[in-house]
C-alpha cells in the first residue's frame, strides 16, 4: 500500500540549476502551478561553478557577428553528430535569451561602449571557419555561472515560484500508458516521502561527472535524472560522450576556465614549449576541448609532462600582467592560490584533463519533450516527460561541446521547455492517474534501501566505481580494456544494489541521499561503458586506440542505450536546417 501523501502541480521541475530555474521562471510567469524540486538550495547547484561565459552571437565584440557562424562552429565542434535543427534554434534564439537575462539584472562585464563584454573561446570562428578567431563568449568576469544562477533565482523569487528546497527525487512514477505522471520525492529535512503528481515532469538534473575519480564537477553531480530515467526503462543518447576539460587543477580537479586561454594564456610542457602549436597550428590553445585534452595526454605519455611525476602540464598566465588577471580572471587567481598553491601572477598553474561535461543524456526534441525509439526506429514522445540542460541530449553538443555553449543550452532549452509546456497546459493535458501499484513501483528502490541490513559502505563502493571509469573509460579508450571495465562494473552492480545504509534516521539523513546518488551514478556509468565499447570509431571526445578514424559510414549517428536489455541502438542525426542547407560532415581540424 503506497501510504504516502500526494502533492499536485501542473508542472514539476526536478533540478534547481540553470535550466531548471529558467524553465520554472517561464512557467511561474504563465500562472500555472509549478514547483521546483531541488536537492540543494538553488544557488548551490553546479551551474554556479561555470566560469568563462555564455557563447552567443550578440554582435558586441564584432558588430558584424552572425549567429550562423556560431551555428557552424557548434556543428563542427560536435564532430557532426549534433542535431542541426536544435543547434540552429539555439544559436538563433540565443541573443534574445541573453538579453532577457541582462534585463533581469545579470551583471555582465562591459565593453567601452557599455555593451556586454565578449571573450574568445575555443572552437570559435568568423565567417564559417574562414575569418579567424571570434570573441563570442559573453562574460561576467570569470564568475558567469554564479551571476547567471543567482539572477535566475532572483527572477524566480520575483515571480513567486514554489521551491521544494532540499528535496530529493527518488524515482519516476509512470501510469499504465507508460506516461510520466510525476515523481516520488523525499523531503531531506524531515525524511517524509511524497508522491509529487504532475501533468508535466521536467528533468533538469544536470550532469554526472562524479562517475569519474577526477572531475571538475560538484559532489552533487550524480546523474540523478539519468539514473531515474534508466530505471524507468527509458533510453539515453550519446552517453559515451564525456568531455574532459583540458584545465582541471592537478590533484584537486577544480576547473580553470578556458577563458584563461581566451585571454591569452597558453599551455606549456616541461621544456617550456607551447606544444599546442604542433597539434593545432591555427587555433593552437583554442582548438576544441577534445583536441587540446588529447594533446595534453600525449605530451604526458611521451614524457614531456611537468612535476616530479611528469603527470600534468602548465597553464601559463603570468605574461598577461597582474592588472589584467585581477580584472578578467579574479576567480581563477583565488582558486589557483587555494587549490594549486600557485599564484598565477608569478607562476604557472599545474593542470590536467579532467572530466567536465556529459554531452549525452535523455534524448529530447527542441521543445524539451523526452523521446524514445519505437520498434521501427521512429522517434516516439514519452508523454508527460521533459528534459533540459546537461541532463538532456537535444542534441546541441554532439560528440564534443564548445566552451560557453553549456550555459546557452540550459538557458535556451530551459526557456523552450517552459514555453512548450505552457502551451500544452493551455491546450489541456489528459494523463491517466497513477495507480497504487504505479506509485509502489517508484518506491521499490527506496524501500529496498531502507530495509537493508549489512552491505558495503557507499563511499567505498563509489570510489571503486570512479576508479573503474577513470581507468577504463578515460580520454583514450580501447576495446579490450573497456570489456574488462564492463565486466568489473557488472560485478559491482549487486554490491551497489545492496549498499549499506549506516544511518536509518529521518532528519537530514545525507547517508540515505548518498546511497541513492550512488545508485544513479552506477546507472550512468554502466550506460557509458557499454555504449563506449559499442561505438567502434573515434569521434569528438570518444577517442579509441583501436579505431582511430571517424567512421561516417557506420557512426554518423546517435547511439541510444536501452536499459531493459542493455542494447545499443542508433538514431539518425537531424540535418534539417530551416534557414539554409545542412552542413555536411568534413574533416575536423583546428
Amino acid at each position: 500500500m503506497a501510504n504516502i501523501r500526494t502533492m499536485t502541480f501542473d508542472a514539476v521541475i526536478v533540478g534547481g540549476g540553470g535550466s531548471g530555474m529558467r524553465a520554472a521562471l517561464q512557467l511561474a510567469q504563465s500562472g500555472y502551478k509549478t514547483a521546483v524540486i531541488t536537492k540543494v538550495f538553488p544557488t548551490r547547484s553546479h551551474t554556479v561553478s561555470a566560469q568563462g561565459g555564455i557563447t552567443c552571437a550578440i554582435a558586441s565584440d564584432d558588430p558584424n557577428d552572425q549567429w550562423q557562424w556560431h551555428m557552424y562552429d557548434t556543428i563542427k565542434g560536435a564532430d557532426f553528430i549534433g542535431d542541426q535543427e536544435a543547434i540552429e534554434y539555439m544559436c538563433q534564439t540565443g541573443p534574445e535569451a541573453i538579453f532577457e537575462l541582462e534585463h533581469m539584472g545579470l551583471p555582465f562585464s562591459r565593453t567601452e561602449e557599455g555593451r556586454i563584454y565578449q571573450r574568445p573561446f575555443g572552437g570559435q570562428s568568423k565567417d564559417f571557419g574562414k575569418g579567424g578567431q571570434a570573441a563570442r563568449t559573453c562574460a561576467a568576469a570569470d564568475r558567469t555561472g554564479h551571476a547567471l544562477l543567482h539572477t535566475l533565482y532572483q527572477g524566480n523569487l520575483k515571480n513567486e515560484t514554489t521551491f521544494l528546497n532540499e528535496w530529493f527525487a527518488v524515482d519516476i512514477v509512470k501510469n499504465s500508458d507508460n506516461a510520466v505522471v510525476g515523481v516520488v520525492a523525499l523531503n531531506i529535512e524531515t525524511g517524509e516521502t511524497v508522491y509529487v503528481k504532475s501533468k508535466a515532469t521536467v528533468f533538469a538534473t544536470g550532469g554526472a561527472g562524479r562517475i569519474y575519480a577526477s572531475t571538475t564537477n560538484a559532489h552533487i553531480c550524480t546523474g540523478d535524472g539519468i539514473g531515474m530515467a534508466l530505471r524507468a526503462g527509458f533510453p539515453v543518447q550519446d552517453i559515451e560522450m564525456w568531455q574532459f576539460h583540458p584545465t582541471g587543477i592537478h590533484g584537486a580537479g577544480t576547473l580553470v576556465t578556458e577563458g584563461c586561454r581566451g585571454e591569452g594564456g597558453y599551455l606549456v610542457n616541461k621544456d617550456g614549449e607551447r606544444f599546442m602549436e604542433r597539434y593545432a597550428p591555427n587555433a593552437k590553445d583554442l582548438a576544441g576541448r577534445d583536441v587540446v585534452a588529447r594533446s595534453m595526454v600525449l605530451e604526458i605519455l611521451e614524457g614531456r609532462g611537468c612535476g616530479p611525476d611528469g603527470d600534468h602540464v602548465y597553464l601559463k598566465l603570468d605574461h598577461l600582467g597582474e592588472e589584467t588577471l585581477n580584472a578578467k580572471l579574479p576567480g581563477i587567481l583565488e582558486l589557483s592560490r587555494t587549490f594549486a598553491h600557485a599564484d598565477p601572477v608569478k607562476e604557472p598553474i599545474p593542470v590536467v584533463p579532467t572530466c567536465h561535461y556529459m554531452m549525452g543524456g535523455i534524448p529530447t526534441n527542441v521543445n524539451g519533450q523526452a523521446l524514445t525509439v519505437d520498434a521501427e526506429g521512429n522517434d516516439e514522445v514519452i508523454e508527460g516527460f521533459y528534459a533540459c540542460g546537461e541532463a538532456a541530449c537535444v542534441s546541441v553538443h554532439g560528440a564534443n561541446r564548445l566552451g560557453g555553449n553549456s550555459l546557452l543550452d540550459l538557458v535556451v532549452f530551459g526557456r523552450a521547455s517552459g514555453m512548450f509546456i505552457e502551451q500544452q497546459l493551455r491546450e489541456g493535458i489528459e494523463l491517466k492517474d497513477a495507480s497504487e501499484a504505479d506509485i509502489e513501483a517508484a518506491m521499490a528502490g527506496l524501500n529496498h534501501l531502507n530495509d537493508s541490513t549489512g552491505g558495503e559502505n557507499a563511499s567505498v563502493l563509489r570510489a571503486e566505481l570512479q576508479t573503474i571509469m577513470q581507468n577504463y573509460f578515460g580520454v583514450f579508450r580501447r576495446g579490450d580494456f573497456m570489456q574488462e571495465g564492463i565486466t568489473k562494473l557488472a560485478a559491482l552492480r549487486p554490491r551497489i544494489k545492496n549498499v549499506a545504509l549506516g544511518d536509518k534516521s529521518n532528519a537530514f539523513n545525507t547517508s540515505r541521499i548518498e546511497a541513492l546518488e550512488l545508485q544513479n551514478l552506477f546507472e550512468v556509468a554502466e550506460a557509458t561503458a557499454i555504449t563506449a565499447e559499442a561505438r567502434t570509431e573515434s569521434r569528438g571526445a570518444h577517442a579509441r586506440e583501436d579505431f582511430q578514424e571517424r567512421d561516417d559510414v557506420n557512426w554518423l549517428c546517435h547511439s541510444v542505450f536501452f536499459p531493459s536489455d542493455k542494447r545499443v541502438g542508433k538514431r539518425g542525426v537531424n540535418f534539417n536546417l530551416k534557414t539554409r542547407e545542412a552542413f555536411e560532415p568534413q574533416i575536423r581540424t583546428y
Binding site: 540543494v40 538550495f41 544557488t43 548551490r44 547547484s45 553546479h46 554556479v48 561553478s49 550578440i58 541573443p95 541573453i98 538579453f99 541582462e102 534585463h103 533581469m104 539584472g105 551583471p107 555582465f108 562585464s109 562591459r110 565593453t111 567601452e112 561602449e113 557599455g114 555593451r115 561576467a140 564568475r143 554564479h146 551571476a147 543567482h150 532572483q154 527572477g155 523569487l157 520575483k158 560538484a218 559532489h219 552533487i220 584537486a252 577544480t254 576547473l255 576567480g331 583565488e334 582558486l335 587555494t338 587549490f339 559502505n457 557507499a458 563511499s459 567505498v460 549499506a500 545504509l501 549506516g502 544511518d503 534516521s505 529521518n506 532528519a507 537530514f508 539523513n509 545525507t510 547517508s511
Partner: protein, 234 residues
C-alpha cells in the same frame, strides 16, 4: 593524530547537543576541513553536513571552524588547527537541524525582504541595457556574494534581531541593487529599509568583513546605504 571535535545533535536521538571527539590521521597533508569531514563520514555515516561545489562558490558548507565562520572546502587545516585540535560547530545563532546543518530560513527571509532582483519598469530595449564600465565596476565586491551566511551568523546584531535586522549579507545585496545603474527602484528600496532595525542595527563591529570567504565588505555597503538613507531624510 589530529584531534577533531565536532558538534553533534540528532533530534531523533539526542535530548541535547554534545561535542564528539575523533582522532584523524592527516598523513602530514594540509588538506581542507571538508576533506576531513568527508573521511570521518566514511567511518561514521551519521555525521551530517552540507556540501556541494567543494571550491568555495556554492556556499553550502559554511560552518564555525575553530571559532571562526568559514567554508570547510576552502579552509586548509593549517589555518584552522590550533594546538593539534580542530573544533567544528554549526554556524552560530540559527536553529540547528542536525549536526552541522542549520535552518537558514530566517537568513533567506531577510534576503527576500530586500527584493533581491532588478526592478526597472521602463520598456526594455531590443538589445541589452547599456552600462558603462565605471557603472559596472560599482557592482564588484557586491554581486559575488554566495549566500553562505558566514557573515550574518557572525554578527551579534543579527543574533539579537534575526527577524528585524536584515544582516550583513542581505544588506550587501540590498546595496548591490541600489548601486546598479540599471535599477530604477532606489526610492522604494530605501523606503523599505528606513526603520530603526533593518539597517541601523549594524554597529560596525565588522565581524562580517573578517569572516567573508569571498573577501567582501558588507560593512562598507551598509555605510553606503546609511548615507543614502540620511541623504533622503534631509
Amino acid at each position: 593524530m589530529l584531534n577533531v571535535s565536532i558538534y553533534r545533535y540528532n533530534p531523533e536521538v539526542d535530548s541535547e547537543p554534545y561535542m564528539q571527539d575523533f582522532e584523524f590521521d592527516t598523513q602530514g597533508k594540509d588538506i581542507m576541513v571538508l576533506d576531513v569531514l568527508e573521511k570521518l563520514k566514511i567511518e561514521d555515516p551519521t555525521l551530517v553536513f552540507r556540501r556541494s561545489c567543494r571550491e568555495g562558490v556554492c556556499g553550502s558548507d559554511g560552518m564555525n571552524i575553530s571559532g571562526k565562520n568559514g567554508l570547510a572546502c576552502v579552509t586548509p587545516l593549517s589555518d584552522a588547527v590550533k594546538k593539534n585540535k580542530l573544533v567544528i560547530r554549526p554556524l552560530p545563532g540559527l536553529p540547528v537541524i542536525r549536526d552541522l546543518v542549520i535552518d537558514m530560513s530566517q537568513f533567506y527571509a531577510q534576503y527576500e525582504k530586500i527584493q533581491p532582483y532588478m526592478i526597472n519598469n521602463t520598456p526594455a530595449p531590443a538589445i541589452e541595457r547599456l552600462q558603462s564600465q565605471e557603472e559596472r565596476a560599482k557592482l564588484d565586491g557586491l554581486y559575488e556574494c554566495i549566500l553562505c551566511a558566514c557573515c550574518s551568523t557572525a554578527c551579534p546584531s543579527f543574533w539579537w534581531n534575526p527577524d528585524k535586522f536584515i544582516g550583513p549579507s542581505g544588506l550587501l545585496q540590498a546595496y548591490r541593487f541600489l548601486a546598479d545603474s540599471r535599477d530604477t527602484a532606489t526610492e522604494a528600496r530605501l523606503a523599505n529599509l528606513d526603520d530603526p532595525f533593518s539597517v541601523f542595527r549594524c554597529h560596525g563591529i565588522m565581524n562580517c568583513v573578517q569572516v567573508c570567504p569571498k573577501g567582501l565588505n558588507p560593512t562598507k555597503a551598509i555605510g553606503h546605504i546609511r548615507d543614502m538613507l540620511i541623504r533622503t531624510a534631509t
